[in-house]
């Protein structure tokens, strides 16, 4: 068990981060190369000002028409993304491990806050799953990929929650947790989670078109 633990928290972490970083660079570079080769008619209109104008306005909750018309989803989406990103980065247990390895540390959340945020992520995933099952339009759209990324996002939080509360077998769960975290990191460039890499560019592009050519807001 200890051997497996050492493996998943050691070499496997390096591997998953390597896949994430090099995979992301590869995806971004190859996408940009493709855009230069085939989408000159789009690239030509990219504009810094209108890109940031669009990104900025879409970051504000309830500003865009889409956010306004889907209020519940909007709240859940913001809570989900904030907790999904902030919890692992600001979790004291994670920071302690990094401090022990590399001697660097940063501000952390209290354990009880992190616990609540974990529950929020899990609840948000349950909400998303419910929409996929019971909301007609979303059910029609849902594919295997959507279930895959929902599972990938939920598992580290479910296992982390169970391990933290020492429910079931701690040793098995903590290994499962680290494994799930590794899978999520490595999956970013090669699943639909790649919206983390590309959405900023698609947003910037439509912002540039609307701002520069169509002279209209896109939110």
């Amino acid at each position: 068990m200890y051997g497996i633990y050492n493996f998943v928290t050691g070499p496997l972490v390096w591997a998953s981060f390597a896949i994430f970083i090099f995979g992301s660079i590869y995806r971004l570079v190859s996408m940009y190369t493709l855009a230069k080769k085939k989408d000159a008619v789009s690239l030509a209109y990219m504009d810094w000002k209108f890109s940031f104008r669009s990104i900025f306005n879409w970051l504000i909750p309830f500003k865009a028409l889409g956010w306004k018309m889907n209020p519940v989803l909007t709240v859940v989406t913001y809570v989900f993304h904030i907790c999904l990103l902030a919890t692992p980065i600001l979790l004291s247990a994670h920071i302690i491990m990094i401090e022990e390895s590399w001697g660097v540390s940063w501000w952390s959340l209290s354990d009880s806050t992190a616990d609540v945020m974990t529950i929020l992520v899990i609840a948000a995933c349950a909400f998303f799953a419910g929409r996929r099952l019971y909301q007609k339009d979303v059910r029609f759209l849902t594919t295997g990929q959507d279930w895959l990324i929902l599972t990938i996002a939920a598992l580290p939080f479910i296992t982390g929650f169970l391990a933290y509360h020492q429910l079931f077998n701690y040793q098995v769960l903590i290994i499962a947790h680290v494994l799930a975290g590794n899978i999520m990191i490595a999956a970013i460039p090669f699943t639909r989670i790649s919206h983390m890499l590309f959405a900023v560019f698609t947003r910037a592009y439509i912002g540039s078109e609307f701002g520069g050519i169509r002279k209209a807001k896109d939110w």
Partner: protein, 439 residues
């Protein structure tokens, strides 16, 4: 529920798919994917999170009892999405379904852009689907006829060269009863304004040419119209997916203006032609922006009215509501100017529809949908129910719509939903209310 339950028989689509095999389809689809699309399509297809946020954007969805197969992302899934998932190999019958969705169930209005957090442009996916259909020879008969007309005559309505000048002279003659020294100057080099129209104007809306001539004459504008092809700024080829012809049309239009060394082009009250000129056709022809300055008549009328070149003897009795045409408001930010013009012209308030300006609901006629003709008319008007509800809720009797397609679409809508409203172009109102020059 689903496209197979609402198929509409169209001879163009039926004959088109009868000539196809799965091999032919796959070859053509992949030629388009590999030859004409790139990172944009790839990124859109990959990162659409299937969240359904765009669903509520679409008037087709809103007007069809929230049938999920009409949601924007659902239409992508049933067309381009299916082609991508199957490596381009689908049956001819599936192409029929996809063509019906792409040509007749999406107005390319881009309202859904305002709903998508990752900024996916569904209209681009639909127009790529139309491009594939065009290359497969599967296009609705009526709109294909207009595209053929573009190819043969450089105008949309089979107007022959002598008929064009004849029509202009006829309108000039008519107008001279009212304005004795009015001219429609043809081919005048170096004029300030080159006035361009869409071919339905000489074909069956000649009063619009009359009105435009009256307004330009009254405002003492130095203007001209071309005697030769290039005068039609419309572009059905953009909507059928015939991009080669779209490029030729725009080049002809701009070169006709360049040949006459005019200062700028003023376009009539049309939406799609404006889109073709600033957004789509110009790019295919290789111009990043248009090579000759172009203004839409909303902007032009705004100039005439604010600079006092046109004075009013009366105001049009309001209150009124207005239709924001997608291609000039969401597409070109003319919402404010349009309202300023209406405030000058109308005595009474503007009662806005619930969705307005860049968030407007489409008239359901644009994007080439009305041009698909009678087979699709009932489905098109049915998709305008949400818009009809918003129009009825304004409680007013006049809709101002500065776009031909909006006019046609709303005309059918007002009739079908018994709204009892009249639809006006800005030109109608200006012509009616302006101070005439002394004879």
């Amino acid at each position: 529920m689903g496209i197979q339950d609402r198929l509409i028989e169209d001879v163009g689509l039926r004959e088109g798919v009868s000539r196809l095999t799965e091999d032919k389809i796959q070859k053509t689809v992949n030629a388009v994917f590999q030859g004409e699309t790139g990172a944009r399509l790839k990124a859109y297809a990959e990162i659409c999170l299937r969240c359904g946020m765009c669903t509520e954007a679409c008037h087709f969805y809103l007007s069809h009892d929230k049938d999920p197969t009409y949601a924007p992302a659902a239409k992508v899934k049933q067309t381009i999405g299916t082609l991508l998932a199957n490596g381009g190999r689908v049956s001819p019958d599936q192409i029929y379904n996809m063509a019906q969705i792409a040509y007749s169930e999406c107005n390319l209005c881009r309202r859904c852009v305002h709903f998508c957090p990752v900024g996916i442009d569904t209209a681009y996916m639909m127009i790529t689907m139309r491009r594939i259909c065009h290359k497969l020879g599967v296009t609705p008969q009526y709109i294909q006829d207009t595209a053929h007309s573009h190819s043969a005559t450089f105008n949309q309505m089979w107007v022959k060269d002598d008929e064009w000048t004849d029509t202009l002279q006829w309108q000039e003659e008519e107008a001279r009863d009212e304005f004795p020294d009015l001219r429609i100057p043809l081919d005048k080099e170096g004029a300030d304004v080159y006035y361009s129209v869409i071919a339905p104007e000489p074909k069956f809306r000649t009063q619009l040419i009359y009105q435009a001539a009256a307004i330009l004459h009254t405002a003492k504008i130095d203007w001209t119209m071309p005697a030769e092809p290039g005068w039609d700024n419309s572009d059905m080829c953009m909507f059928t997916g015939d991009f080669e012809m779209m490029g030729r049309l725009k080049r002809k239009h701009f070169e006709s203006a360049q040949k006459l060394k005019v200062k700028r082009i003023v376009m009539g009250e049309c939406g799609h032609a404006f889109r073709s000129i600033y957004d789509v056709g110009n790019r295919w022809a290789g111009w990043k922006h248009y090579p000759v300055p172009v203004v839409h008549s909303v902007e032009f009328f705004w100039e005439l009215l604010t600079q006092g070149k046109i004075k009013l003897v009366s105001k049009y009795p309001g209150p009124v509501t207005l239709q924001d045409p997608c291609n000039i408001v969401r597409g070109r930010g003319l919402g404010d100017k349009l309202r300023e013009v209406i405030r000058i012209l109308v005595d009474g308030e503007i009662v806005e529809t619930a969705s307005n300006r860049e968030h407007n609901l489409c008239c359901s006629a644009g994007g080439g949908v009305i041009n698909c003709g009678p087979p699709f008319k009932n489905a098109r008007v049915a998709a305008c129910k949400a818009k009809a509800d918003q129009l009825r809720a304004t409680g007013v009797k006049t809709i101002i719509a500065p776009c031909h397609n909006c006019h046609g679409g709303l005309d059918d809508t007002v009739h079908k939903y018994e709204l009892g409203m009249e639809i006006k172009f800005l030109g109608d109102i200006i012509y009616q209310c302006m101070e005439r020059p002394e004879a």
